[in-house]
Amino acid sequence: MITHLRPALVMIVLMTVITGLAYPLAMTGLAGALFPRQAAGSIVARDGKVIGSSLIGQSFTGDTYFHGRPSATTTADPNDSSKTVAAPYNAANSSGSNLAPTSKALVDRVMEDAAKLKSENPGVQLPADLVTTSGSGLDPDITPSAAAFQAPRVARARGVPEATITALVASHTEGRLLGILGEPRVNVLALNLALDDLKK
């Protein structure tokens, strides 16, 4: 057993240096040189100010913007740090709702959101992604049908013809990779930035 002590000790130190320091630090250097934008977090800036990351969803509540999916992220309660309070799209604490399909809390939440959405666009079936939270709580995308569902509201709020909005959604819809991988989607932040540019 003693004969194993030296190899065990030296091995853990060597491997820590190689895989715990040299590897991640070399990768950080290389990644920063080859792909600086992605390595830093795909930051989106407008007029010199950082407004977010193109990969991370953000909370939209106003009528003039397309809304992302509901988000289940939380933050520490400012009044009692042992508790948490809802904080949608908190990108410092990703999480899903983890509600069961038979959860009463899930059904109540969907019922409430569904009522709001139905009043906004009556008579249309609700896209599932608009009433369900994502796994990360930071989903940057919505489905094309969720965008189409919101287009009339955004058009009304902005006083723009609905056709203009629909065309903008179409041009921001990304298909499956090679027609196979993933699902069609619309990046909400990119779409809303394009909406703001429309005004100008």
């Binding site: 194993h4 091995m11 795909s42 977010g52 509600l99 399909p101 796994g135 489905t143």
Partner: protein, 569 residues
């Protein structure tokens, strides 16, 4: 279920099949000390490691020596990881100023990464400094994966050698797997991940002001380098709390697809390495086929369950045709979420790109069953192969009983000692999984952490211990597992689940290596054909089914019928 979804699943299978042979040949060159295309660059580094450690590469160990070396190495790894986690406030690379980690959480996390479980009682971005992520966790990701493959190599040598005492040298296997296989693959994969948008930076949180004027703090870090080994090493411990559902860990459908491939790649290749080392590649493909059929069954049931949507929500006017989207990301949709959940639980990875707790009752049951079967469907790197071979021993034993002959496997007689060791390894898992669950659901310290009530709450507790003992690490994540009770019991479950399988496996390898090979006769049961594939699957399902069916009936199955009746909890 969509046609396109099935095309993605078929494409996934095709790529895994295509990679199995080339990767298998490469792994064999590592196991047998052969040269490969990386040798000119890496041999000097390899020799340097041996010189510093004071190892002679030609000195081989018997099974006791091999197991002792592995255990002592694990103790060292535990002390280092625990020490770093406990002192991260005083270490560099902590731009967010993360606090010291409590003893029970540090113990749970160190054990979790050491055993290749990567259960996360913590939220990555809100708990761990960059030093902890890199020096404590990434190192163990590499080492637990390399040790798993090393043990599989030693186990296979038990069958490929005859009349010898030794099954290899742990230090050599560990070093060669790390230097030649894991690090080069991770370098390539890391750069690919960054190109697709996975961050790799030592800078602190990004402070943004959103379009609507709110503040948003966006956690970043050296994500890609950890993500690569998390997948290839079937570790599964995410940099972020949301794991591979987080857009920074898994930004596109292409990344997602390659993450799934990288989970299976080495585990599948090991079946081929096994076949080549025992001198019959068909034997490897027979194992691959048994695993592949179980995989297809699992993914089909899960896909069916998730694609049909939640009937309670459909009744509220939600489009059921889009499937059950709670806890899933739009860019992956149903098909890739289901495939990922199946792959991650077939292998002992435990990374998730969707929240399994929010899956439909039967959709969440399938991942649980995959783990309960012992994670032998390709499985964790190394552990999948030796886990499957343990079932193969039971299968030939059963076949031997049926015809009244001493069972043989690959020309080696299977005798009482091997069967006892196999049953020890196979039975300790349900003991831990069901035993701890039974305790946790009746005492306050257990139930107070459950987020769901009714049958789903039971599933939450069951999944936790199944995942821990199976060294998987995925979760019904509503569980608030960061309490002394859960951290302690889950940590014990992880250790039993790892070492009470590895040590009997190595003992079998040792006793097999010492045996002579019997030439096949007319009465030998061929283990490289469809009969063996069917028998192995049968044994796996009967052992798994009989052991776990009552527990599943109390959890997901009763929840399924409650859901159909429209009942909520």
């Amino acid at each position: 279920m969509t046609f396109n979804g099935w095309i993605q699943i078929a494409l996934f299978c095709a790529i895994i099949i295509a990679l199995t042979r080339p990767f298998g040949g490469f792994l064999m060159s590592l196991a047998t000390g052969g040269r490969n295309f990386l040798s000119p660059v890496l041999v000097p580094l390899e020799r340097g490691v041996y010189a510093l450690c004071g190892i002679r590469a030609s000195d081989e160990q018997g099974w006791v020596g091999y197991a002792t070396a592995m255990l002592i190495f694990k103790v060292m790894g535990f002390l280092l990881a625990y020490g770093i986690l406990r002192s991260q406030t005083f270490l560099p690379f902590n731009p967010a100023g993360q606090d010291t980690i409590a003893p029970d959480l540090a113990y749970n996390t160190a054990v979790s990464f050491l055993t290749n479980t990567n259960w996360q009682s913590y939220g990555g971005e809100s708990t761990m400094s960059y030093a902890s992520q890199m020096v404590a966790l990434t190192v163990q990701n590499f080492m637990s994966a390399a040790a798993g493959i090393a043990i599989a190599m030693a186990f296979v040598r038990g069958f490929s050698r005859r009349s010898v005492k030794s099954i290899g040298n742990f230090w050599v296997d560990l070093t060669r797997v790390t230097l030649y296989a894991l690090i080069p693959l991770c370098i390539v994969f890391t750069l690919f991940l960054v190109s697709q948008g996975v961050p790799q930076t030592l800078a602190g949180t990004i402070d943004a002001t959103t379009l609507e004027g709110a503040k948003q703090s966006i956690a970043v870090g050296p994500v890609a380098s950890q993500e690569a080994i998390k997948m290839l090493g079937t570790n599964g411990g995410g940099f972020f709390n949301a794991n591979s559902a987080h857009p920074f860990e898994n930004p596109t459908a292409l990344v997602d697809f390659l993450q799934m491939i990288s989970i299976f790649a080495l585990g599948a290749a090991l079946t081929n390495m096994f076949g080549r080392m025992v001198g019959n590649e068909r034997q490897g493909w027979a194992i691959f086929a048994a695993m592949g059929l179980l995989f297809l069954a699992g993914v089909s049931v899960t896909y069916w369950a998730e694609a049909s949507g939640n009937p309670i929500l459909t009744a509220l006017g939600v489009d059921g045709g889009m499937g059950n989207m709670e806890g899933k990301e739009v860019r992956f949709g149903i098909a890739q979420s289901v495939l990922f959940a199946t792959v991650t639980t077939d292998a002992s990875c435990g990374a998730v790109n969707a929240m399994i707790e929010s899956f439909m009752p039967l959709g969440g049951m399938m991942p649980m069953i995959n783990i309960m079967l012992g994670e032998i469907i390709f499985g964790g790197v190394g552990s999948g192969l030796y886990g499957f071979l343990l079932f193969a021993i039971v299968a030939v034993f059963v076949a031997g009983l049926m015809v009244g002959r001493t069972p043989e496997f690959l020309g080696k007689k299977i005798e009482a000692k091997e069967v006892k060791m196999t049953m020890l390894a196979i039975l300790c898992l349900p003991l831990v999984m069901l035993g701890f669950t039974a305790v946790a659901v009746v005492i306050e310290a257990g139930t107070s952490a459950l987020s769901a009530s009714g049958p789903h709450g039971f599933s939450e507790a069951l999944y936790a211990y199944v995942s821990a003992a199976g060294n998987n690490g995925s979760a019904f994540a509503g569980l608030s597992a960061n309490t002394p009770f859960w951290n302690t019991t889950l940590g014990i479950g992880m250790m039993i689940g790892r070492f009470f399988v590895i040590i009997p496996a190595l003992a079998i390898a040792g006793s097999m290596a010492a045996k002579k090979t019997v030439p096949p006769s007319a009465g030998t049961f061929p283990t490289d054909g469809p009969m063996f594939v069917g028998l192995a699957i049968g044994v796996i399902l009967i052992v798994g089914g009989l052991t776990f069916f009552p527990a599943l009936a109390l959890g997901p199955i009763v929840e399924h019928f409650a859901l159909a009746a429209g009942q909520t909890f």
